[in-house]
């Protein structure tokens, strides 16, 4: 039982990378399909649809960042990797916002981006609006990133 703290902390880090990464993989896959469809018909739109394709990929990067910060904080990447169960559970909880919100926001953002790519196929000059619609979903991924980031960095200072 004495080692369970580090187990939970690593589990949290893994979930942040895993779920946010999976969401981004699904999302970028969806937008990639739509982008390929548009480029098949009109190769000149490659640059425009590429930007929209990449948007759901950011959640995976945020998840990686949180995982990396957590591993660094708990000493897995150097230093002592021992901690209480309570602290391990706190790290686990700190990673959850990024893991869960990252997964869902990537997929929902992908749907908006796909719609944006379709819009660009008909009205290339409206690409900016398509990006804004998709970026709205990004807001919630950023909020989750902030919460996870603040929590992961703050837990280390707690004396539990």
């Amino acid at each position: 039982m004495s080692n369970m703290g580090i187990v939970f902390a690593i589990l949290g880090a893994a979930l942040a990378a895993l779920l946010a990464g999976a969401g981004s993989a699904v999302g970028v896959g969806m937008t990639g399909e739509a982008a390929a469809g548009v480029v098949t018909e009109d190769p000149s739109k490659f640059g425009k649809v590429l930007l929209l394709q990449l948007l759901p990929g950011t959640q995976g990067i945020y998840g990686l960042l949180i995982a990396f910060m957590t591993l660094s904080q708990i000493g897995v990447l150097g230093g002592s990797a021992e901690m209480s169960l309570a602290k391990g559970l706190m790290y686990f909880a700190a990673c959850l916002p990024m893991a869960i919100v990252g997964y869902w926001s990537a997929i929902r953002q992908a749907r908006v981006s796909v719609a944006g790519i379709h819009m660009v196929s008909k009205k290339p000059d409206q690409m900016g609006k398509g990006m804004i619609f998709a970026a709205m979903v990004e807001t919630y991924a950023i909020l989750a990133l902030l919460v996870s980031l603040l929590a992961v960095t703050g837990i280390g200072g707690l004396n539990i």
Partner: protein
């Protein structure tokens, strides 16, 4: 099929929708002073008009549409429902040809799900089992009826009602709201037209009951009873259904009602312009192309025969985009 996502395919269709004729293009065609200037407008929109012949031009467009669908969809049979009418037309033609023991030229429509030669062979050898299950019973029944009675109309009614039943069943089995809506409207419109035609030719209730195919939006029994009564009774029944707005067109002429039905179909499929994930936009594209083909055929034929612009304009359909 309903759960499968068609993201790549819909994206390609979105680009292809740009090539569809718009209402403005149709006005341009109508305003053209000759058949040749119509062809120039179509050529500007990317149509292959090199043959100069309307049938060939439209056949090329149809081939292009189906070639695109074959490229996009792994199992093209999901769109078979749109071709059932051609199959059943070919069955009708084959039965009549075999029964009359004469050979007619160009009686088959080439775009079906079954090769016309296969249908003709099955009918001539009385091997109805060689036909798809949806055609077997009707083929046998119509063939026997025509041989025994020599009544071509009865043969038509048997095959037409089997065709509509097959379309409705395919729509229900598809799991796609748009294909179901297409099937439902196709059957309902055919029922209404049949009811009016039968009423005008004084058909008996039994004949009507056989000819009309039950569907969700119309009560075939009530429609048959109304048709056996009077034309006004048909209108009065339709006023209580979803087809009430079409009654005025029906009073004008069957051509006006057909146009109303086609416009209604376009209206129902138009939301697919904003659907990004399902097979709906692909099916809508096929229907939009069919609608476009119908309208261009009317205009080209009007121009070729020097018909009055207003007479042609009355028959043109609303476009999808």
């Amino acid at each position: 099929m309903a759960d499968k996502q068609y993201i790549y395919q819909v994206a390609r269709i979105r680009s292809k929708e740009m090539e569809l004729l718009t209402g403005q293009n149709i006005q341009q065609l109508l305003a053209s002073d000759s058949y040749d200037s119509c062809l120039r407008v179509l050529s500007d929109r990317g149509w292959d008009v090199s043959s100069g012949d309307a049938d060939t031009i439209l056949a090329i467009q149809r081939q292009n549409t189906w070639a695109l669908m074959e490229e996009l969809v792994e199992d093209i049979s999901v769109f078979d429902v749109f071709l059932y009418q051609n199959d059943f037309h070919n069955l009708k033609a084959a039965i009549k040809q075999v029964c009359t023991q004469e050979h007619f030229q160009d009686i088959y429509i080439p775009d079906g799900t079954v090769e016309p030669q296969q249908i003709e062979q099955a009918v001539s050898q009385r091997d109805f089992g060689a036909l798809p299950p949806r055609m077997q019973k009707a083929a046998q029944e119509a063939f026997t009826a025509l041989l025994r009675t020599g009544d071509g109309q009865l043969c038509d009614v048997i095959i037409d009602s089997a065709c509509l039943a097959a379309i409705l069943q395919a729509g229900r089995d598809s799991g796609d709201a748009l294909i179901l809506a297409y099937a439902e409207l196709t059957v309902a419109a055919a029922d209404i037209k049949t009811a009016v035609r039968c009423q005008r030719t004084g058909k008996e209730l039994d004949f009507l009951k056989r000819a009309l195919v039950p569907c969700d939006s119309l009560d075939a029994a009530q429609l048959a009873a109304a048709a056996a009564d009077s034309e006004e009774a048909i209108y009065s029944y339709l006023e209580r259904t979803a087809y009430a707005p079409g009654v005025e067109a029906l009073r004008q002429s069957s051509a006006a009602f057909e146009r109303w039905c086609d416009d209604l179909m376009m209206q129902r499929i138009r939301p697919q312009l904003h659907n990004a994930f399902t097979i709906g936009p692909l099916a809508a594209y096929i229907l939009a192309r069919e609608n476009e083909e119908k309208t261009v055929r009317i205009i080209l034929s009007g121009k070729k025969n020097h018909l009055d612009e207003s007479a042609v304009a009355e028959r043109v359909r609303d476009m999808y985009v």
